[in-house]
């Protein structure tokens, strides 16, 4: 085929792909335009995750009638005019591609009225072609609706995910924009249900309250300044954790950044206080001179480059740290007191610290097969994927010989000796010493119980139904697909504003943090497309929440119960995620260590 210049409709579509991947990217472009237009009120409505219909209404400055058509041409923008402006971008959008790209990928109707214009002008565009235009009465501002995304590109439409996943993504975008602009009133609805409403009070804490519920009241204010950089926002005090980084948001000059390095920098401020697998809540805005940041890396503009990244990261750590340490005495005391009743256990555990010589980490029980498992299970998607059967994955055949010994020689009978670091149970067996990770072991026990649980069995209804506040994304995903809740056995109904009313939970989840459980199940519903795997992962999440945590001191009876239950498990050697539950220190190893032989 000879080289030829592409016809305009083809090049339009290719360029559109860069900006418009899914409804969430459309929502981002449209809402950013609204904010750049000085809107004080932005309403986003979506249907079926936004793929069917997505509409953004604002009260911004509007587009004059004469410029309406030009707005949909490529590289048409009002936000910069010379190449020098590009170095000092202060608006959210600037590339002049967005509207053209959206109009190329979907059917768009845009109606806009600047305050000084008497009537609103509207145009309708599909596939880049003008379909119609006219005038109508409307309050000032812009009302832009997109319908049937990728209707002309079935190949791309196929890449869209479930309505729940797309809705969660749109909600994520709107959430972040709402956090970046507490002064703007945001409303987000999905299929007519209200997901998020902020009051535009200008207070970040009010936005957080709409998103995270009462946890927002405990957030600590951050005010930090170093040469050339300023960090403001809110972070959670030690003890207020989430199971994912979903509630950590970092803006640079008001623009959300997707990279994880800033999140790690914030977590560093909590030092050892951060339990494994737990993450703080944080909303931080980093202000730098515009020249210090390059946002023009990618059309989506979520990937930014810093002239000196270390300055930014260490500023984030220092900012969070100063907020935490300033607040330290009181919350720390509170956290301690609530656990105070059981702490005398700590003194007893102290002498056991003898047990940490170099051979301690991960000695195989007998076959070398067990330690291999974690590696398998961590590689996502494959080895750990259990069969779709309803029961517990019995001796996962996919793993072949690796798991075979599990069914046969279960754990030997163990005598409990004590607890180390309020995390590991020390037990004695016929072959020496066994160290048991209390969380992993309990998780295994409960996971197998959850799997074997008959539908509707051992459901504990609440006398007073509990309201749980979820993020709009998690809530949208659960509204779209409630199967994860049914799998786990949680009976709950959505209320407005991302809240859920929990009516009943399975017995092991009684008195656990239901808000967090539901948030994680919502995230799961959004991100895991494979049904059997989603079922399995939701049971793991439930088991994880129901089980004792690392750092909880246990009485001898409690430890005995966990170990007894573990002994009767089908796969006692690993937790559902594939981490080992038991480490065996053979008597011979002890003898060698003490030079007895």
């Amino acid at each position: 085929m000879p080289i030829q210049r592409l016809p305009p409709e083809v090049s339009r579509q290719i360029a559109a792909g860069e900006v418009v991947e899914r409804p969430a990217s459309v929502a981002k472009e449209l809402v950013e335009n609204s904010l750049d237009a000085g809107a004080r009120r932005v309403t986003v409505e979506m249907q079926r995750g936004g793929a069917e219909r997505l509409r953004v209404v604002d009260d911004g400055c509007g587009i004059p009638e004469g410029e309406l058509e030009l707005a949909f041409a490529r590289h048409a923008t009002s936000k910069l005019s010379t190449i020098e402006d590009l170095a000092r971008v202060a608006t959210l959008g600037f590339r002049g591609e967005a509207l053209a790209a959206i109009a190329a990928a979907a059917e768009v109707r845009c109606s806009s009225r600047p305050a000084e214009q008497l009537a609103a002008a509207w145009i309708r565009i599909a596939g880049g072609e003008l379909l119609g235009r006219g005038r109508e009465g409307k309050p000032h501002g812009t009302d832009i609706g997109m319908t049937r995304l990728f209707h002309a590109q079935p190949a791309r439409r196929k890449f869209l995910r479930s309505a729940g996943a797309e809705a969660a993504a749109v909600a994520g975008v709107v959430t972040r924009l709402a956090l970046s602009r507490p002064d703007v009133r945001f409303t987000l609805t999905s299929d007519g249900r209200l997901l998020l409403r902020t009051d535009g009070s200008g207070e970040l804490r009010d936005v957080c309250r709409a998103l995270y519920g009462s946890a927002a009241d405990h957030l600590l204010p951050v005010e930090f300044e170093a040469p050339g950089v300023r960090v403001t926002g809110l972070v959670s005090p030690p003890g207020t954790w989430r199971g994912s980084r979903g509630a950590m948001t970092v803006f640079v000059n008001g623009r959300w950044v997707s990279s994880r390095a800033p999140l790690f920098a914030i977590e560093r401020a909590y030092q050892d206080g951060l339990p494994t697998g737990q993450h703080p809540l944080a909303v931080l805005d980093v202000r730098l001179a515009p020249e210090e940041v390059d946002v023009n890396v990618h059309p989506a503009k979520t990937d930014v480059r810093f002239r000196d990244e270390r300055v930014v990261l260490s500023a984030l750590t220092a900012a969070a740290h100063s907020a935490i340490s300033r607040s330290a005495p009181v919350p720390a005391a509170g956290a301690l007191l609530s656990g105070g009743a059981q702490t005398f256990e700590g003194d007893d555990a102290a002498p056991l610290r003898l047990v940490s010589p170099p051979w301690a980490p991960r000695l195989p029980l007998e076959e070398p097969a067990v330690p291999q498992l974690p590696a398998d299970a961590r590689s996502p998607g494959e080895a750990a994927a259990p069969p779709a059967s309803a029961g517990p994955p019995p001796a996962r055949s996919a793993n072949g010989a690796g798991d075979a010994p599990v069914a046969g020689p279960a754990l030997p009978p163990l005598r409990i000796v004590g607890q180390v670091g309020a995390t590991y149970i020390v037990a004695e067996g016929p072959e020496g010493m066994f160290l048991i990770d209390q969380h992993a072991a309990h998780e295994r026990v409960l996971y197998e119980r959850f799997c074997a649980r008959p539908e509707g069995e051992d459901l504990q209804p609440l006398l007073v139904p509990q309201v749980c506040q979820l993020s709009p994304g998690a809530s949208a995903a659960l509204v779209a697909d409630r199967r994860v809740l049914e799998t786990v056995g949680v009976q709950a109904d959505p209320l407005d504003g991302g809240a859920w009313l929990v009516r009943a939970v399975p017995a092991p989840l009684v008195k656990r943090d239901l808000s967090q459980l539901l948030s994680e199940l919502g995230a799961l519903a959004a991100e895991e497309p494979d049904l059997p795997r989603r079922r399995d992962r939701s049971l793991m999440t439930a088991a994880c929440h129901a089980s004792v945590r690392a750092g909880m001191s246990l009485s001898l009876d409690e430890m005995r119960e966990i170990v007894l239950a573990l002994e009767s498990c089908r796969q006692p050697r690993t937790c559902p995620h594939g981490r080992p539950t038991v480490v065996h220190v053979p008597a011979t190893a002890l003898e060698r260590e003490f030079r007895r032989r």
Binding site: L337, T343, G346, P454, D458, Q460, L463, V464, V510
Partner: protein, 381 residues
């Protein structure tokens, strides 16, 4: 400071305030007890920043002074001293070494300045009332266990105390069960009856208070105007606590007013059978099944308590019951049954149910001041 005190009263006072001392605290001075001379008395204060306990004991004060010393060390030492000798406490001026002398025993204890000790807030303005110690102790015992222990709904970690019309109503709930005790207040004094008010007191505070209460006498309670703190005063002890802000759920509507089946049983027998069933219920999420059968031909009915766990086994126990209404079945978490049955006074109770999915109600017979509502579990029968 120079003070002489009888050993037994000092040991008792230290035993009381030590309960407020946290076992670990980021604020080191909080693990100390504050000693201050106060007229002809010695004042001892300990706090965990949520509650503060103050005890006054009569002492021979020959020199004023104040200091804080490690609570555990001081308390253990004093409790071992001989009871027939007074304890001499001496703090030389500008020193931080407390000298403790008793008979032929002597100790020097390193302390920290009293200025570092948190100030115990005063509760002066606001509401006051008088509660009977004995009645309050029973009310606390019958309600505190039902309050939530986890922080997911902070307001439920408190016991709701509502005072109106000569009655103090204590209510504890954790989302799955509700315990309500109505405590009749002594006849109002000359000042007139107290204004109605309601507060949420942390369950742990009431637990502390319950241990301090004696069989007789009165307790004075005061709540500050902002409803953020409360004070309890018993003879020579004061307990100041923070209150939990927030609105307690309207629990009156949760108490069923009708029933389909009512079984009168002995509290002790019911508890005994539940404890047996709990052994078998352990592997099955703690499910205990109850079957109520009315008697035939004038004979007594029965309450069957059973549990089963797959692959483990099952059990059944039966006790006499005077049954009013239809046969019924209902399943509960064994923990919830044992909790309430353990705190009820020996005697008879009525178990009222309206089907296996509606809340069950337990009412001790003979006094109408207590009701316990508990959510059943949904099981496959």
């Amino acid at each position: 400071m120079k003070v002489a005190i009888p050993q037994d009263s000092l040991a008792r006072a230290l035993g009381i305030v030590s309960r407020a001392v946290p076992s670990r605290s980021p604020l080191p001075v909080v693990s100390n007890v504050l000693l201050t001379t106060d007229d002809h008395r010695l004042k001892l204060v300990a706090t965990n920043l949520e509650i503060a306990l103050t005890v006054w004991i009569g002492a021979q004060v020959s020199e004023e002074g104040t200091i804080t010393v490690p609570a555990r060390l001081f308390s253990e030492f004093v409790s071992q001293l001989k009871g027939d000798q007074p304890v001499q406490i001496t703090l030389p001026p500008r020193s931080r070494q407390l000298n403790v002398h008793c008979g032929r025993d002597e100790a020097n204890i390193g302390g920290m300045p009293a200025d570092d000790f948190p100030v115990v807030p005063e509760v002066t303005d606001g509401q006051r009332l008088v509660l009977p110690a004995r009645g309050l102790r029973r009310a606390i015992e019958e309600v505190v266990f039902a309050a939530a222990r986890d922080d997911s709904r902070p307001v439920l970690t408190g016991v709701h105390v509502q005072v109106a019309d000569g009655v103090a109503e204590l209510a504890g709930a954790d989302g799955f069960r509700l315990a309500v005790h109505r405590l009749r207040l002594p006849a109002p004094s000359a000042e007139g009856s107290p204004e109605p008010f309601s507060v949420n007191i942390p369950w742990s505070t009431l637990d502390h208070l319950g241990r301090l209460l004696s069989e007789s006498g009165d307790v004075q309670m005061a709540v500050n105007g902002e409803r953020t703190r409360a004070l309890f005063r018993l003879d020579d002890i004061e307990l100041v606590t923070q209150l939990i802000p927030g609105t307690f759920p309207n629990y009156q509507q949760l108490i069923p007013t009708t029933y389909a089946t009512r079984a009168r049983v002995s509290v002790e027998e019911f508890l005994h059978e539940t404890k047996i069933a709990a052994i078998f219920a352990r592997d099955g999420s703690g499910i205990v099944r109850l079957h109520v059968t009315p008697g035939e031909g004038g004979g007594p009915g029965s309450l069957q308590v059973s549990a089963r766990a797959d692959e483990v086994g099952d059990n059944r126990g039966e006790i006499d019951a005077a049954v009013d209404g239809e046969p019924s079945k209902i399943a509960f978490n064994s923990r919830y049954l044992i909790d309430v049955l353990s705190v009820l006074e020996p005697g008879e109770l009525a178990l009222e149910t309206s089907g296996p999915s509606n809340p069950g109600v337990l009412r001790p017979l003979g006094h109408d001041d207590y009701v316990h509502v508990v959510m059943p579990m949904f099981v496959q029968w």
